[in-house]
Amino acid sequence: MKNRLRVLRAEKEITQAQLADETGVSRQTINAIEKGKFDPSLPLAFKIARLFNMSIEEIFEDED
């Protein structure tokens, strides 16, 4: 699953560790999501979306 997480994070000038803090996961998990190696669960996707004041669809894109 593609996502705009890295770009959004850069725009807000927050680090992976800070995003991990806010969402209650590890920095490695944020890194894996950004690289598209791990798809977050729906609750985590909602948390991320809320943090950026966006909808899930605006951040994550289904590749199918």
């Binding site: 800070q18 806010e22 209650g24 996961v25 590890s26 490695q28 998990t29 190696k37």
Partner: protein
Amino acid sequence: MKNQNDTLAARCKRNTIHLGIWTGAWVLTLALVAFGHKFLWNEDTTISAIMIFINLAVGVGMIIANIKHLNGLDEMHRKIHLEAMGVTLGVTLITGLGYSMLDITNVISYDAEISYLVMIMGITYMFAVLINNFRYK
């Protein structure tokens, strides 16, 4: 801002320590049964039965601590461990039965020992977790 991650890190640390303590206690009670039977209580079967019961009870504690440890991880690390457990189960099943067949068919001259299977389980799990950690990096 730091509260949640401190909670995750603190929870992981606390659960890992608990798991370590329970695992250590389980190994200790197991060793006590294995060696105590002969060297400490002169093969008294009543004492051995009580010690085995204690070992089983501590084993249940270790399982609960392991479940708590897994539930305390974040979702990606839970997936890493789930996949590692799947690999370990498969490897243990096929090597265990294969090893047993080697014994039954007398291909090997000695009896199949369960301790080898436990070693294979541990090594497989360790490598599977390491490989999965690398995959999700």
